[in-house]
C-alpha cells in the first residue's frame, strides 16, 4: 500500500460550520473541526449525537445544508461519494455494508475498482490487458488479506462469516483502495476483547506503517483514549469538546454529557 502525503499543508480535511438536517430534524448544527495528516482523529458522543452523519457528510453520502468542506486545501460545498473515493477517502460503516452475495475475495476486489481501468469489452475478452490488470490487483488484495490475517476465509461468502470477521473484511475492502484518509464507523462495535485487540492493532499499523490518516468513531472510551491523537465530542448534533484525549476527558461539558447516557 502506498503512502500518500500532501506536502502543502498538514491539514488534510477542514470542516467549517457544517449544518445538516433531515426534513425538520437537525442532525448537525454548525460543526467545525480539522483533521491533520497521519493522525488518528476520533469522534465520540452519545447515541444519536450525529457521529455517523458527520462521516456521511465527509465522504458525501449526506449533503450539508450549510458550511464548507476543505479537502486537501480545495474548498467545496459538498463531497460526492464516488469522487471522494477516487480522491482517496475510504470508509467502513456502522452496520456492516458488505456485498452479501459475494465472496470475501470479491468484496475486497471491489475496493480496487477505482484503480481498475480496463473497459467492459476487454473485460469480456479477458485475455491480455484486462487479465493482467486483474492479476495485478488480485496481488494487491492478497497483500491486504495477508495483512489482516483472513487467508482462511478468502473464498467464503461474506454472509456466512461471524460479525467480527465481517467487520475485518469491510476494513480490508476499505484498505484495498489504498486510501489516504480512512473513515471508520465503530469498527469494534459488538466485538469480544480479543477481536477488539486485533482491530486496534490493525488500525494502529495502518496508521503508522502506511501513514493513513484515520477518522474514527468508537464507543469504547478505553480504546479511543488509547489510540487517538485528538478527539472531537458531539452531543445532539453540536460540538461540545475538541482536543487531546486528556483534555477531552476532563472537559466538564463532556463529562456531564456522558453522565446522562451510560457509556
Amino acid at each position: 500500500m502506498s503512502i500518500n502525503i500532501n506536502p502543502s499543508s498538514n491539514t488534510v480535511l477542514q470542516l467549517a460550520n457544517i449544518s445538516l438536517s433531515f426534513g425538520g430534524v437537525k442532525a448537525l448544527t454548525n460543526i467545525s473541526f480539522d483533521v491533520r495528516e497521519h493522525e488518528i482523529r476520533s469522534i465520540i458522543g452519545p447515541n444519536g449525537a450525529g457521529k455517523s452523519s458527520m462521516l456521511n457528510v465527509i465522504n458525501g453520502v449526506y449533503h450539508p445544508q450549510a458550511g464548507d468542506i476543505y479537502f486537501r486545501g480545495e474548498k467545496r460545498k459538498q463531497m460526492n461519494p464516488a469522487e471522494a473515493a477516487r480522491q482517496g477517502i475510504a470508509r467502513t460503516f456502522q452496520n456492516i455494508a458488505l456485498f452479501k452475495g459475494m465472496t470475501v475475495l470479491d468484496n475486497i476486489m471491489t475496493g480496487r475498482n477505482t484503480q481498475m481501468k480496463s473497459g467492459f469489452i476487454s473485460n469480456a475478452i479477458w485475455v491480455g490487458k484486462a487479465r493482467n490488470e486483474e492479476e495485478l490487483n488480485r496481488h494487491k488484495v492478497e497483500e491486504v488479506i495477508d495483512f489482516l490475517e483472513i487467508q482462511h476465509i478468502r473464498k467464503t461468502p461474506v454472509g456466512k462469516l461471524p460479525y467480527g470477521l465481517q467487520k475485518r473484511v469491510e476494513l480490508a475492502r476499505a484498505l484495498a483502495a489504498e486510501p489516504s484518509l480512512l473513515l471508520l464507523d465503530e469498527p469494534m462495535a459488538g466485538m469480544n476483547v480479543e477481536e477488539k485487540q486485533d482491530m486496534c492493532r490493525f488500525i494502529l499499523e495502518v496508521n503508522q506503517q502506511y501513514g493513513v490518516t484515520i477518522v474514527l468513531i468508537e464507543h469504547d472510551m478505553g480504546v479511543v483514549m488509547d489510540i487517538s491523537d485528538r478527539v472531537v465530542v458531539l452531543d445532539y448534533g453540536k460540538k461540545i469538546g475538541d482536543g487531546l484525549p486528556d483534555e477531552v476527558k476532563n472537559n466538564p461539558e463532556v463529562i456531564s454529557a456522558y453522565l446522562g447516557t451510560n457509556h
Partner: protein, 646 residues
C-alpha cells in the same frame, strides 16, 4: 542420484541441482493465496545472497546460526546459507516459550539468529540479557516490526541486499567458502527433546545426513518429481531428514503450508507423493473420518462400512502385491472407485507413493486402515542421534508391530539387557561439547546405545517394546514394560494419553487421559450432558467405557506369557489434559512418567491405597503464559482383569 564423495556437502548438492535441474521447483510456499515457487537456480541465488549478507555481518566458519520459525523456504535456505560459510544451523522448536530457548542459545553459543516473525523476535528480545552472546537477529516477515529500533535487528531482505553488494565486491567469495566445506564438518546441531534433564545438542556431520538421505532415498526411489509437505517442527530430526537431507539429496520439492490452520487444506491442494506424520496425526485424521461419516446418510454409511470391511479383508494384501482372487479384486476396484479413492482424495493422500510414521508405536487398526485403503504407510525407527535412520520397512514386508529391518549402511544388535545398539553411517558425531555424554552413549566399538528395549523377530524385523530404562521389574520380580501397555491403551480412539505405574510395585495402576473431541462426540450422541473437560472426564459413563477398554487390554496381555502377570488392576481418568507446556509431555509428546508420578503423587497414592476418589489441585500454564491452577475430585475405579490363557 549422486555418488557418495568424501568431500560431498549440502552446499555442493545445492550447486549440483542448480546445474542439473535448474527449473525444477525446490520449494513451494502457499503465500498470498497461491503456491509461490522457488526453482533450484533461484534457490541458489537466494542462498548465495543470504550467505554473503551473513558474511558481511561477520558470520564466520564454525559459528552457529539459530533458526526459529514455522517451516518456511527462507528458513531452510538459511540452513544451507550457514553451511555454505562453514557455519552450523541450529533449528529451535518454534513453539517453545522464551525461557526454554535460553539453554540452547547459550549451550550452542548462538550469536546469530534467523527467525520467522515478530512473535519469535519478541521472544528473543525478552531473553536477550540471559543470552549474552546473541548479537544479531534477522527476521523474515517484517510485519509489525517496522517500529522496532534495536540496531541488531535486520530484515532478511536487508541482509540479502547487503549480500548482493558484498558478492559484487567479492565475486569469488561465495564459491571459495563453499568449496572449503568437507563431508566431515558438522552440518547441523539438533537438540534432543530431552525426556530427562536439559536438552543435549546432537551434532551431525554432512556425511551423516547425506548418507542417511541418500540411502533412504534410494530405498524408496525418491526423485525430483516427488513432493513432500513440510509442516513438522524444523528442529525435529525427522523434518531435517525428510524436508532437508532427502530433499537436498534427491531434489524433491518441499511444500510449505500457508499457516498452521490451513495444513489440512494445503495438503489436499499439494497432494504430496511422499509423506510423514507421527501416529497421533494419522489417528486424529481417522477420528475425523469416523466422526464425519457418522453424519452421513444410512445408504452411504452402509456402503462405507462394507467398503471398510472388504478393505480389512484384502486391502493390505493387494498393497503388498500378494495374490488375490478375481472377485475380491473386482470388489476392491469398485470400492476403490466409490470410497477408497475419494477418501484418499479427501485426506490429500491420492498421490502418496510412500508414507512413513514413527516416534511412537502405532495402533494396528489405525495402521491397517491406511494401508487397506491403498496408502502405502510404513514405519521406520531412529532417533535424533541416528538421523532418524536405523530401521525401515521395505515395500511388501510391512508389519504393524515391527519397525522394519536394519537400513542400508546400518548394523544393529541387541545388548543382553535387550537394549538396541546401532552402528553405521547415520550415527552422530557426538553431543555438542559434551564428550562425557557422548562417551556414555557411544561405546568403544562405535555402537550407539539407543536406550530402547527391543527384540528381533524371525525374519530380522526389529520390534521395540519400551524404553530400556523404563523396562522395570515389579515387586514380584517379573518384567514390567509400561510403554508397551500404554501404547495398547492408546490404540483406543477414546484414550489420548495413558500413564502406567507399577515399577517395584505389586500391582499395576494407570492414569488415563481422554480424547476430549472423540469422547465429547460420543457423549453427545448418547445425550450425556457435560459442562466441560473436567466434568466429562468424571462421568460414570465415561469410566464405564474406559473400563471396558482396559479390560480388553488385560485380556490381550493375558495372552502374552511374558506379560500376562502385568495386568492393570485400577485406573483413574485425569481431570486435565497432559500438556508439554506443563512439562508433563515432551515437545514430541512423550509422557514424562517420573515427573507425572511426582506431580500427581496424591492420585497415585490413592490408587494404591484403594481409595475410591481423591481431591487434587494442580498448577497449569495457560496458552497466554499465565500460571493458574485447577482442582477436582478424581474418581478411581477397579479394572476387571483376565485369566491367564494356558
Amino acid at each position: 542420484m549422486t555418488k557418495v564423495v568424501k568431500t560431498l556437502t549440502f552446499p555442493k548438492l545445492l550447486l549440483e541441482h542448480a546445474k542439473a535441474i535448474p527449473k525444477r521447483p525446490a520449494y513451494r510456499e502457499k503465500y498470498l493465496g497461491i503456491w509461490q515457487v522457488t526453482s533450484w537456480e533461484d534457490n541458489l541465488k537466494e542462498i548465495k545472497q543470504l550467505a554473503c549478507g551473513l558474511a558481511s555481518l561477520g558470520f564466520k566458519r564454525g559459528m552457529n546460526l539459530a533458526i526459529i520459525g514455522d517451516n518456511r523456504p527462507k528458513l531452510y535456505q538459511a540452513m544451507v546459507a550457514a553451511q555454505c560459510l562453514g557455519g552450523i544451523p541450529v533449528p529451535l522448536y518454534q513453539d517453545a516459550v522464551a525461557a526454554e530457548m535460553i539453554h540452547v542459545l547459550n549451550d550452542a553459543a548462538i550469536s546469530f539468529a534467523i527467525v520467522e516473525d515478530q512473535e519469535q523476535v519478541d521472544k528473543l528480545l525478552e531473553i536477550k540479557d540471559q543470552a549474552p552472546v546473541l548479537s544479531t537477529i534477522i527476521y523474515e516477515d517484517p510485519k509489525g516490526l517496522n517500529d522496532y529500533v534495536q540496531s541488531y535487528l535486520h530484515s532478511y531482505k536487508q541482509i540479502q541486499l547487503l549480500g548482493k553488494t558484498f558478492s559484487d565486491e567479492h565475486p569469488e567469495f561465495f564459491i571459495t567458502e563453499l568449496e572449503k566445506g568437507k563431508a566431515t564438518d558438522l552440518s547441523v546441531i539438533l537438540y534432543t527433546s530431552g525426556t530427562t534433564g536439559k536438552p543435549k545438542g546432537v551434532a551431525h556431520t554432512h556425511q551423516n545426513f547425506i548418507r542417511a538421505g541418500q540411502n533412504s532415498s534410494q530405498f524408496d526411489h525418491l526423485n525430483s518429481e516427488d513432493n513432500i509437505l513440510a509442516y513438522l517442527p524444523m528442529a525435529w530430526v525427522g523434518d531435517h531428514l525428510f524436508s532437508f537431507a532427502q530433499a537436498m539429496v534427491s531434489g524433491l520439492t518441499v511444500n510449505c503450508p500457508e499457516s498452521k490452520e490451513t495444513v489440512m487444506s494445503d495438503m489436499r491442494e499439494i497432494g504430496p507423493s511422499y509423506y510423514f506424520a507421527p501416529p497421533r496425526i494419522f489417528e486424529s485424521l481417522l477420528t475425523q473420518v469416523t466422526i464425519r461419516m457418522e453424519d452421513a446418510g444410512t445408504i452411504k454409511r452402509k456402503l462405507f462400512e462394507l467398503a471398510m470391511e472388504h478393505a480389512k479383508k484384502v486391502g493390505s494384501d493387494i498393497l503388498d502385491g500378494k495374490p488375490i482372487g478375481l472377485i475380491d479384486r473386482l470388489q476392491y476396484a469398485f470400492y476403490n472407485l466409490t470410497i477408497y479413492a475419494p477418501l484418499r482424495n479427501a485426506l490429500g493422500m491420492s498421490k502418496i507413493r510412500v508414507a512413513y510414521t514413527a516416534g511412537e508405536a502405532i495402533g494396528p487398526d489405525l495402521f491397517r486402515f491406511y494401508r487397506s485403503i491403498g496408502v502405502n504407510l510404513k514405519q521406520f525407527y531412529g532417533q535424533t542421534e541416528t538421523c532418524a535412520y536405523v530401521c525401515l520397512q521395505p515395500d511388501g514386508q510391512v508389519k504393524y508391530d515391527s519397525v522394519g529391518i536394519a537400513a542400508p549402511g546400518i548394523e544393529i544388535k541387541l545388548a543382553d539387557t535387550g537394549e538396541v545398539l546401532v552402528k553405521g553411517v547415520s550415527v552422530m558425531d557426538g553431543y555438542y561439547q559434551r564428550p562425557d555424554a557422548t562417551a556414555e552413549s557411544i561405546d568403544a566399538d562405535g555402537f550407539f546405545h539407543t536406550g530402547d528395549a527391543g527384540i528381533i523377530d524371525k525374519d530380522g524385523h526389529l520390534r521395540i517394546i519400551d524404553r530400556a530404562k523404563d523396562v522395570g521389574k515389579m515387586a514380584n520380580g517379573k518384567l514390567f514394560a509400561p510403554k508397551y501397555i500404554e501404547n495398547k491403551l492408546k490404540f483406543f480412539p477414546f484414550v489420548k494419553e495413558a500413564v502406567v505405574f507399577g515399577d517395584a510395585k505389586e500391582a499395576i495402576m494407570t492414569f488415563i487421559n481422554i480424547d476430549f473431541e472423540a469422547i465429547a462426540n460420543w457423549a453427545e450422541r448418547r445425550h450425556i450432558a457435560f459442562a466441560g473437560y473436567i466434568d466429562l472426564a468424571s462421568k460414570p459413563e465415561v469410566y464405564k467405557m474406559i473400563g471396558e477398554c482396559i479390560n480388553k487390554v488385560n485380556v490381550d496381555l493375558a495372552d502374552d506369557p511374558m506379560l500376562s502377570h502385568a495386568q492393570i488392576s485400577r485406573f483413574l481418568v485425569l481431570h486435565k489434559e497432559l500438556d508439554p507446556d506443563d512439562d508433563e509431555l515432551t515437545r514430541t509428546r512423550k509422557v514424562r512418567r517420573g515427573f507425572i508420578a511426582e506431580k500427581y503423587a496424591p492420585l497415585l497414592d490413592a490408587l494404591y491405597s484403594g481409595k475410591s476418589e481423591q481431591f487434587i489441585e494442580t498448577k497449569v500454564k495457560f496458552e497466554d503464559g499465565r500460571d493458574g491452577s485447577i482442582s477436582a475430585t478424581v474418581r478411581i475405579q477397579d479394572a476387571s482383569t483376565a485369566m491367564e490363557s494356558v
